[in-house]
């Protein structure tokens, strides 16, 4: 349907050897999982450095509040493709959806590990037990609903596709029967799939509102929910761009500078809008004077904005955003900037009423990194078994062929 070099999502079949990096990530993921099980069977203090002053450590502030921003590619690209009809983006939707699903899943895994009394989580099933005023309740209900209902639904077609090629005749018939149903409900489902993350990504920002004066005034603002959800959009675009560039180079696929440029351009405009909201908000609240303190908060504030502003300006040039190396650096910068903005008010600019320190323990960090590694391993497997990464239509001929019998060893 498109004239771009990317015409279709195609499984990775070129390279099926197991590489050292894959083994490394697998080991890290397993280590994280083992520690997670141990942690669930132990008091919370044994495996984390959290304390009564920094009661939320990296699991909540980084794995959940920060990394689900990276997992917002499904929201950002989806809204652009379907609500704003950027048709050329359809070809990268699957990359966005799979990364989103994996990062949301690992985020929720981190949330499970973080909760101190998980046996009481069943209250979530009974709406009359909910505290409707709590932003955390909104997150707790909305985030799993999104990930395991709407986002999972968006990922169903790519799973069905594989079995419509490789399954038995009966499977094929069943999948053919399902397809009209999926197409019938698709518009409603994706509308919910964009509404819900807009709600919980903004609620993640609203969490810090209740901490009031404990969050440094440069970050403590009524605009936190809005800035949080927009930062999720920026990080989502950035991560999809980065993933596409890394994977296409890794598996020697041609790059569609057209599609990548479009993603870069949208990310850049969103970043400008974010910066405008942020600076108007600080000006209205009259807090710019706090930057003269020249303390670590000034440094983080300047860093966040520079990491976002520089790529936003650079990507306004068509030539620059269609240069893969520049685009990659811009995406990394914007992604890190957006993630930093999500982390800082929750952890770094969070100042308890009493002097206290928190630095994650080795076990805590291993779990944090292990969950990310699990997402990477999951992605590696997903792009191999399913048509996720975009490529030229000529490559489709190799896709979903029944496995050839192994060569007998001579």
């Amino acid at each position: 349907m498109s004239d771009s070099v990317w015409q279709r999502a195609i499984p990775v079949y070129e390279d099926r050897s197991v590489k050292k990096t894959f083994i490394f990530f697998t080991i890290l993921a397993i280590a994280g999982t083992i520690l997670a099980v141990l942690r669930m069977a132990s008091p919370l203090g044994r495996y984390s450095a959290m304390n009564d002053f920094y009661a939320w450590g990296v699991w909540k502030t980084f794995n959940v509040m920060t990394l689900t921003a990276i997992g917002s590619g499904g929201l950002a690209v989806g809204v652009a493709a379907w609500a704003f009809d950027r048709q050329k983006l359809h070809v990268v939707m699957r990359t966005a959806l799979v990364t989103s699903f994996l990062f949301y899943t690992t985020g929720m895994l981190a949330l499970m590990v973080d909760v101190g009394r998980p046996w009481n989580l069943w209250h979530i099933l009974l709406p009359w037990h909910w505290n409707m005023h709590s932003a955390l309740l909104e997150v707790a209900v909305c985030m799993p609903t999104y990930a395991f209902l709407f986002l999972a639904f968006e990922n169903v077609p790519l799973v069905l596709e594989r079995y419509s090629y490789l399954g038995s005749d009966a499977t094929r018939a069943r999948i053919a029967g399902l397809e009209p149903v999926i197409r019938k409900i698709y518009p409603v489902m994706i509308a919910f799939a964009y509404l819900l993350p807009i709600m919980h990504q903004s609620s993640l920002g609203a969490l810090m509102l209740l901490a009031g004066p404990k969050v440094h005034p440069l970050w403590q603002t009524q605009a936190l929910p809005l800035l949080y959800v927009m930062a999720a959009g920026i990080a989502g675009f950035a991560f999809v761009i980065g993933t596409l560039l890394v994977c296409c180079l890794r598996y020697s696929r041609p790059l569609s500078t057209d599609v990548l440029g479009e993603l870069g351009s949208l990310m850049s405009w969103l970043t400008f809008a974010w910066l405008a909201f942020r600076f108007v908000d600080i000006a209205v609240r009259g807090k710019f004077g706090l930057l003269l303190a020249l303390d670590k908060y000034t440094a983080y504030f300047v860093l966040e904005n520079i990491l976002l502003l520089v790529p936003a300006i650079m990507l306004r040039s068509k030539q620059l955003r269609e240069t893969p190396r520049i685009l990659f650096m811009a995406a990394v910068s914007a992604g890190v900037g957006a993630c930093l903005y999500r982390l800082v008010p929750a952890l770094i600019a969070f100042i308890p009423a009493r002097k206290a320190n928190y630095f994650p323990s080795v076990a805590e960090l291993t779990m944090t990194l292990g969950f990310i590694a699990a997402a990477i391993v999951g992605f590696k497997l997903a792009i191999r078994y399913f048509a996720v990464l975009p490529g030229p239509i000529a490559d489709w001929q190799f896709a979903f062929k029944p496995a050839t019998p192994k060569q007998p060893k001579s």
Binding site: V79, F84, S134, F277
Partner: protein
């Protein structure tokens, strides 16, 4: 092309933003009214100028609440916690500066009129009693998320980091143990000098004001801490040294929950905000989808590969 993208991104930002930003400006126009005081609000008045630091209230608190004394700083000899912790709901601390000014201070839950811990608690494990105004914790509902510790401006709730069945530990005004049966809480009953007394909020506030009026200039700024701080509390402090020296934060009159829900209560009222965003999204998606499906059918009829969702 870039002109189109600009408009689109502004729309994109507007979609999430309109619902959030518009009520924000409306909300800031309407100020926060005074907090509602429960009909039979119970209260504690601590007059730091009367306290002798005997710590009888501390052992009474631990005894009433069946808490093992924290003997950490005294080599196991007697109760001596460094601060409020998961074994200490009530503590007497000494502020002593080299210039010679000093004061004791008693710290425990303030039982806020608009408690941030209750506002944030997802499954209502922390609740404020409608009649007495006491803030209590229910272990059958708590998931151990520790949002109460994040949101409490006084840094009061503590978590049992070293327990398999961890509880949130904080003063509950001895509600279960004593208040329910009409008795005074453990600490006020044990105080030999009357430095901390128990009564209704109304009476104790009047009492505190009488003391200030009786001795002008004796008390810091002639003020009762807790009357308006963070929307008002049910524990009052009188002190001759600045409240900040006693570790009491200087807070605005607006409670954290009021600040935090100003905008969201408008957006989520009758779920109007989400409904508007959904209507906008669905309207646009449905239009584009129909167009997309028509193209797809044509495309597949021409014998191309099936379209990928």
């Amino acid at each position: 092309m870039s002109g189109l993208s600009r408009r689109d991104v502004l729309k994109l930002a507007g979609l999430g933003g309109a619902a959030l930003a518009l009520p924000a400006s409306l909300a800031s126009a309407s100020g926060g009214g005074p907090s509602v005081v429960p009909p039979h609000a119970v209260s504690m008045l601590y007059d730091a100028t009367v306290c002798t630091g005997c710590k009888a209230c501390m052992s009474a608190c631990n005894a009433t609440n069946h808490l093992e004394p924290d003997t950490g700083l005294s080599d196991g000899l007697h109760q001596m916690p460094a601060d409020l912790n998961s074994r200490t709901m009530n503590i007497i601390k000494l502020y002593n500066d080299p210039a010679g000014s000093w004061s004791f201070v008693k710290r425990q839950c303030m039982h806020c009129l608009e408690p941030a811990c209750v506002a944030g608690c997802p499954f209502k494990a922390l609740e404020k009693d409608r009649d007495l105004g006491v803030v209590t914790w229910d272990g059958a509902k708590c998931i151990g998320c520790r949002y109460c510790e994040i949101s409490c401006p006084y840094q009061i709730p503590k978590f049992e980091w070293d327990k398999f069945n961890p509880r949130i530990v904080k003063c509950q005004f001895c509600y279960e143990q004593r208040l329910k049966d009409g008795k005074h809480p453990g600490c006020t009953g044990a105080c030999p000098t009357g430095a901390v007394i128990y009564g209704t909020r109304e009476n104790l506030l009047a009492d505190a004001r009488r003391r200030i009026a009786g001795y002008p200039g004796k008390y810091y700024k002639d003020r009762v801490y807790g009357e308006t701080e963070g929307g008002g509390t049910q524990v009052f402090y009188l002190s001759r040294v600045p409240f900040s020296r006693l570790g009491l934060p200087s807070l605005s009159d607006e409670s954290n929950p009021h600040y935090a829900t100003k905008v969201s209560s408008k957006i989520y009222g009758w779920l109007a905000g989400p409904a508007i965003v959904f209507a906008l999204l669905f309207g646009s998606i449905n239009r584009n989808w129909k167009h997309h499906e028509a193209n797809r059918r044509d495309h597949e009829a021409e014998g191309h590969l099936p379209e990928q969702l």
